[in-house]
């Protein structure tokens, strides 16, 4: 509904429906929560026109810098800007401390799980997780059995997706241990907000995140093979046609490391080199954003052009470190997700700080019956999907879509899980007017000699009205995340 140009963006009276959801910004009575008050005041002082101007400035800047991604399934893999919403998500320090402790605990347990399943498999022998679930996981890489990654860490970079239920409790929705992306958007969003809302930063006391590339680089250097005195770190990308290429290029630039493609690498006698104009230069650590299957045509998929033959044998020989290690996908399999609280208890003898979302595994008969009987209420996902593809949202799907999933679930139950439709928390976004959108949070956890989490992470919002899907490729957008100093 058009508003006159000097109407303030805030307050909302009558224009913002809290519904039955937990709202990040407003309490049940419609008042701004304490940590959002200053933001609400600032926004109230802006007219729609001024707000639009700032939004436009950010969009233009993102477009010029090419901050985009490729959407599959459309013609020629269109490049799109990743939509950005100017209203930041604010997290008070005590809430963040809770989230931080929770994700650190979780990633520690996951790394211990990975070491265990590729060695003694104690958790399986003790019957705490069904062995077939692990052995039958698509990303359980037998080639990794018995191999010892430096410092015992498998998932050096982890993205843990956090949501909030209707009571405001933080839960883990899923773990991402293969190639979690979004850190570059997180950094660009912050840069944009600093340009447009500089005074507010000073007033708020927001914890900085610009150190992420340096922390990532340090984490990668720390896992180099011991013989490497000054380790050469590279980022392996599938290339310009990959949907996350912007991020690969961004991170490589900000870390000051070479961005390489498979063809740039050459293995010889179990050592990895890159081809340069000055000859072959040895590589010690590869931050690889290429899937396991495509890493090495000698060992994995023969037809892959994205990796280099001999890479895995060089890794096995301890002459190069791969981050994340191959085989981490067994731990972010959505069926295995159900047992992460068990992992925390088994390896750490602790109770999980952050809980799971109830999950039904189609591979278990009782669960499968339940799923098929309640397709209209559940969200069904493939166990190895990402980017929001291959998902059924029961309440909004058509009968035909549900039928398709029913058939697929019956044909390959191992490949599906289901979760109740969550009442995800919401907060205001501004498209042409201010309205609520569901949000989640992806903090990035770095594990190396020490584990660290950059404050905040990427907040993603479902931009389409009423949508629950926050992934960039499916109409999602992002916000800056402000973790307060106190």
């Amino acid at each position: 509904m058009p508003t006159s140009s000097n109407t303030p963006v805030f307050p909302l009276e009558g224009r913002y429906d809290l519904g039955a959801f937990f709202d990040e910004m407003f309490d049940a009575a419609g008042h701004s929560r304490p940590h959002y008050r200053a933001l609400a005041e600032q926004l109230a002082a802006l007219s729609v026109e001024e707000f639009e101007q700032r939004r436009h400035a950010v969009d233009v800047s993102f477009l010029n810098q090419g901050i985009g991604f490729t959407v599959y399934g459309e013609e020629e893999g269109l490049e799109r800007i990743f939509p950005f919403d100017l209203i930041p998500r604010v997290i008070p320090q005590d809430e963040w401390a809770h989230i931080e402790r929770g994700v650190i605990q979780r990633v520690r347990a996951l790394n211990l799980f990975l070491e265990d399943v590729y060695h003694g498999q104690r958790i399986l022998r003790d019957g705490r997780i069904p062995a077939e679930l692990v052995f039958g996981a698509t990303h359980f890489r037998r080639e990794m059995i018995g191999l010892n990654p430096p410092t015992g860490v498998y998932a050096h970079v982890a993205g843990v997706d956090i949501v909030r239920d209707e009571h405001g409790e933080y839960l883990v929705l899923e773990d991402n241990l293969r190639s979690p992306s979004g850190a570059s958007y997180m950094l660009e969003n912050r840069a944009a907000m600093k340009r447009e809302f500089a005074p507010l930063f000073a007033r708020y006391g927001v914890l900085g995140i610009d150190q992420y590339p340096q922390e990532l680089l340090a984490a990668l250097r720390a896992v180099a093979p011991p013989a490497a005195a000054m380790p050469t770190v590279v980022l392996l990308t599938p290339g310009v046609h990959n949907s996350a290429y912007f991020e690969h290029s961004f991170l490589a630039r900000h870390m000051g490391i070479e961005l390489v493609e498979g063809g740039d690498l050459l293995c010889h006698d179990d050592v990895v080199y890159m081809r340069t104009t000055q000859g072959l230069q040895r590589v010690d650590v590869i931050y690889r954003r290429v899937d396991d299957e495509f890493l090495d045509p000698l060992i994995f998929r023969k037809d892959s052009m994205l990796g280099a033959p001999g890479l895995l044998n060089a890794y096995r020989a301890g002459n190069v470190t791969l981050a994340n290690a191959p085989g981490t996908g067994v731990a972010d399999d959505k069926a295995v997700y159900r047992y992460v609280p068990e992992m925390i208890r088994y390896y750490l003898a602790e109770e999980p700080i952050l809980g799971n979302v109830p999950t039904y595994l189609a591979v278990h008969e009782a669960d499968r019956r339940y799923i098929l009987e309640h397709l209209e209420e559940l969200v069904v996902k493939t166990v190895n999907g990402s980017g929001g593809y291959g998902m059924l949202i029961g309440p909004v799907a058509t009968a035909a879509e549900r039928d398709l999933f029913r058939r697929q679930i019956e044909a390959e139950p191992r490949e599906f899980i289901a979760q109740p439709t969550l009442a995800l928390s919401r907060m205001p976004i501004y498209t042409d007017e201010l309205r609520p959108a569901h949000v989640d949070l992806r903090p990035f956890v770095l594990s190396s000699r020490i584990t660290s989490v950059v404050p905040g992470g990427l907040t993603r919002a479902a931009l389409r009205e009423g949508s629950l899907v926050v992934n960039s490729s499916q109409g999602g957008g992002s916000k800056d995340t402000w973790v307060l100093r106190s």
Binding site: R275, T276, T277
Partner: protein, 320 residues
């Protein structure tokens, strides 16, 4: 610098230059022939196709050598891998893979040029091509200018320079080689004049030449100018000197590329050209072969690294 990146930058330089040179040729031909008193207009248009060595391919798609047909072929025909639109697209594709190496202004200019070229409708261009040719040249100049203004001098800069100048030398050499027989014929002065003017304009050298030589145009002089002049940006010697400087700046253990360009350059540098005869054509042919050799040595030296197994934990490889 990664070999792949160096190769992409080199080809970005070559492709943009190729697009510019082709546009200039087409433009000169279009305008020169409007009121020219030349015996065989068709053959001049045909020369362009011969120059790029695609006459066979051309004849598969076209029956004659009219202005329209040749322009279409040289500007965007899918069967012509060196068509202007193809060159610009390739330049952009190459640059896209190595965006971190070039400045954002360079990328924006390249992008803009590509948008211009890919969005212009052929009918509009063929109706009035002048505008289009000018904008291609301007796009190329803008790219080079922005590069000089914004790109730090380093390997990225040098590889683009190398590609640009080798391409320019090569294009000029091929043009001279095609036009040489016509210049050695015994024709009335008006005809020779036309041909020489057209040749100079095709190389963007007409005004510069005129400033230097105010007498009538003489064939040997013009050819010598385009071949040997050390101060004209479009003369072959000038280009070779710059290419040599670029190779030396790239440094590193690969000596063969430098030697290959050096050989070509030194032959020309000590040549004097007073008459046009069979030896001139031989010289041009040696020159063109030398440029091909140089391109091969560059590829072998920088883009496809030869391998010598390293000693224990060698950080750097030495090439043969």
């Amino acid at each position: 610098m990664l070999s792949r990146v160096a190769e992409s930058l080199y080809w970005t330089g070559r492709c943009i230059e190729r697009a510019e040179d082709t546009s200039r040729l087409l433009q000169v031909n279009f305008h020169g022939l409007l009121d020219a008193d030349l015996p065989d207009r068709g053959s001049t248009w045909r020369d362009l196709v011969l120059m790029i060595g695609l006459d066979d391919v051309y004849r598969e798609h076209f029956d004659d050598y009219s202005a329209q047909a040749v322009t279409e072929f040289m500007l965007w025909h899918p069967a012509n891998p060196d068509a202007v639109t193809a060159c610009v697209a390739r330049a952009r594709e190459n640059a896209r893979g190595v965006r971190e190496q070039i400045s954002s202004e360079m990328w924006e200019h390249l992008n803009r040029l590509h948008l211009l070229v890919s969005r212009t409708r052929p009918t509009a261009v063929l109706a009035s091509p002048h505008e289009f040719f000018v904008r291609i040249r301007e796009g190329s100049h803008a790219f080079q200018g922005v590069m000089k203004a914004t790109l730090p001098r380093g390997e990225a800069y040098e590889f683009i320079e190398l590609g640009t100048h080798l391409e320019r030398a090569d294009a000029t050499a091929r043009l001279l080689s095609i036009k040489l027989p016509g210049l050695m014929e015994d024709e009335p002065a008006t005809v020779t004049n036309e041909r020489l003017s057209s040749l100079l304009r095709s190389c963007g050298a007409f005004e510069a030449f005129r400033k230097q030589e105010s007498d009538e145009l003489r064939p040997a002089q013009v050819v010598a100018y385009l071949l040997l002049e050390r101060r004209l940006p479009r003369a072959i010697c000038f280009c070779l000197e710059l290419a040599l400087a670029a190779i030396r700046a790239i440094s590193g253990p690969a000596l063969r590329p430098e030697m290959a360009i050096g050989r070509v350059f030194s032959e020309l540098a000590f040549t004097e050209l007073h008459t046009l005869d069979a030896s001139t054509q031989e010289l041009l042919e040696r020159l063109m072969r030398g440029l091909v050799d140089a391109a091969d040595e560059i590829a072998a030296g920088y883009f496809t690294t030869r391998v010598i197994p390293p000693g224990p934990y060698a950080q750097q490889m030495q090439q043969q």
